[in-house]
Symmetry: C2
Subunit: 421 residues, 2 copies
């Protein structure tokens, strides 16, 4: 089942600036792990079943490091607002509806169907505060075969009454109960501790989540430094902390298994914390443009050796399509360079592709490239409708995929050695 | 043939900030012109044939004020370069191939097929220097039913030998001969005088094109102030002119039937020239990001009362899809506001939609809205795949079309009262 060969044109990035183009080649999957890419299939693999994708292009799947499943229905809505207004007008009223499990069933079914069809193989997902709905989301993701980390959101202040947990004790109890109930139920769907962001989490809640994360050895996801008003608010709420990142850090929430989304306006001190802890940054360029947050200095992050992946941030981001996120990451890095920070070179196409595959993939382990020992994720792209001239140069075909492909072009998907379609 | 009624949900913009949402309504076309939009079909039109699009959404088509047909094949390629390098590496070698009429036939067939399928109804198009190929492009556009203005490009310096006209006299003779040969041949495809840009046109050529434009009463299209190196180069080439716009102006090339693409880095004096002459600006945000030109201050243009439309600038822009151009226009205006020009409010979704319809449409006359006397252009959008929840609120459906639609969603198109599919 999970030992086979793919044949096609294989493209991946062994390193940040290195594009590996393997025309007419074979990628071997043994027991769910990659055994290598070969231009001639070695004798020892010649007995394996072959999925032959002919002239199509095979890439590692995209890893979406940050998205909100309940907001999927809001994609493209409310895009004339900034973060805090948009949360009140758009996000919170929608999330409150997920108290209703039949509503969640309908919405999450659609979300998982569309995520499955996309070029994304793995995702780190926010649910809502609702335990039952979040478990339903996990069931659906598990059934899809995608690999994911899913968080029941924690929030106990500064949000509408119908979306606020009673107090920190109740919020922590809800997380513990959720962890108990899902214990051992899933193989490709893991829980992740998910404080929404500092403004909606009391110190007691943050502290308790830090303890829970350590006790259960769980990863963490949250938001950091997205919007200027949000940052001011955090400073008011936490006057004893020198900056936003240090609030999370104080409670043991920054580590090398933590993802912080956005990081648009980090100070140098915050970058030091992120560097020292090995925390991941989920760069979400479509969202950062849509709700006017700004441009995160990704080149600076990379030059400093920080861990960076990409996220759609649905529905601050308007689409599940990671190719559009890659394009926007490229675009924003070019604009930042153009508009005043010429010391930070724009991202190259290959670098943004790396961030979307191996950059975020490393949060899941050995993921995001066709190298021996890596989990075998692969997405097969049928580029005929975007390569109508029949261009044969594989690098040009790759560039067109980055700039012109969408979910429409995905014709097969493998995750951790399992074929999903 | 060109008198009928459309039924559906009709959306357009009578003014820059005014979104008109006409649920379950009728748009009447009489002899190719709009006779109005009605929630109940008036008795006097009750005998007309009705195209019933049910619950679908009907918008005026998009007007693409700037694109290069021969570069269509290069969409998405070379996007790690800036303008002048990209012209040398990507654009000029491709354009040179259009000396071969059979090559042009193949490429322009594909271009016109894809433009037809898109949500664009009208376009101002650059060809190449080649007269025969440009006429072939015009024939294909005419046969498609789209309305267009098409330019044989003029250039007599600073370009590869295989793409340079011998001298200004030869270049002007080629334009005159082109105009003679197409005289009276087309009804929806008009010639437009097309100096590429100042660096590749001698003073004699620019002067001659100004004279030709006046003699034949023809519109003009060119490029202005796209890239900082280009602007420096123009200053070197034309030391007697105070700025880039004044070079065109000196030769009678700035008027209210001129489109200048880009205008990213205009000085106040240049904006004064553009204002006084009534010249159109084709804002091309996807291109301005891709080849790192910068952000044109569109809000400033609008506040000053300048004429502004949108353009894909294929293939500096990577797609023919005007919805993506609208999204990027919105995004860039938000970033400009965020990154230092807070006096210029971000564009609202409705405003960017206006620019893509009526803003550019006015270059073609009364075009871009469903108002009495306007030429009847309409594009029918089937939004079922982007509105999977069955949202009924027409404004929300409109927002999703702007953020999520593509050519895939176009299911019928009418231009100047004629149904194209």
């Amino acid at each position: 089942m999970n030992t086979f060969v793919l044949h096609g044109n294989i493209v991946h990035t062994p390193a940040l600036s290195e594009l590996k183009l393997c025309t007419d080649s074979y990628a071997v999957c043994e027991n769910g792990l990659c055994a290598g890419v070969f231009d001639v299939l070695p004798e020892k693999f010649s007995h394996l079943p072959v999925y032959d994708f002919g002239d199509m292009i095979i890439i590692p799947g995209y890893v979406d490091l940050h998205l909100h499943a309940p907001q999927y229905q809001n994609c493209g809505l409310g895009m004339d607002m900034e973060l805090l207004d948009w949360l009140e007008a758009q996000t919170f009223p929608t999330e409150a509806r997920f108290a209703d499990i039949s509503y969640a069933d309908m919405e999450y079914t659609r979300f998982v169907e569309d995520l499955l069809k996309s070029a994304t193989t793995r995702a780190c997902v926010f649910g809502t505060i609702h335990k039952e709905s979040t478990m339903l989301l996990m069931e659906k993701l598990e059934a899809s075969g995608l690999c994911s980390m899913v968080g029941k959101v924690s929030m106990d202040r500064n949000c509408p009454d119908n979306l606020k947990e009673d107090d920190s004790a109740a919020a922590l109890e809800s997380v513990e109960s959720w962890l108990d109930e899902i214990d051992g139920r899933f193989s490709s769907t893991a829980p992740i501790i998910t404080p929404r962001f500092v403004p909606s989490c009391s110190n007691e809640l943050l502290e308790g989540l830090g303890v829970l994360s350590e006790r259960h050895n769980l990863p963490i996801q949250s938001h950091l430094s997205e919007n200027l008003s949000e940052i001011d608010w955090v400073q008011e709420l936490c006057p004893d902390c020198p900056n936003y990142a240090s609030v999370y850090d104080k409670f043991g929430l920054m580590g090398d298994r933590t993802i912080m989304a956005h990081c648009v306006h980090l100070t140098e001190d915050e970058m030091d914390i992120i560097h020292d802890r090995g925390t991941y940054i989920a760069h979400c360029p479509t969202s950062n443009v849509n709700i006017r947050s700004g441009i995160a200095p990704v080149r600076k992050f990379l030059d400093r050796g920080l861990n960076v992946g990409l996220g759609t941030d649905v529905s601050g981001g308007h689409t599940l399509d990671m190719a559009e996120v890659i394009r926007q990451a490229l675009g924003l890095s070019k604009l930042l360079w153009r508009l005043g920070s010429e010391e930070f070179k724009p991202l190259k196409t290959v670098e943004a592709f790396y961030l979307a595959t191996r950059g975020g993939g490393s949060f899941f382990g050995k993921v995001g490239a066709f190298e021996p020992g890596y989990e075998f994720d692969a997405v097969v792209i049928d580029d005929r409708d975007i390569n109508t001239r029949g261009e044969q140069d594989l690098e040009k075909r790759f560039e067109k995929i980055i700039y012109l492909s969408s979910s429409w072009n995905v014709c097969a998907k493998f995750v951790a050695g399992r074929r999903l379609f």
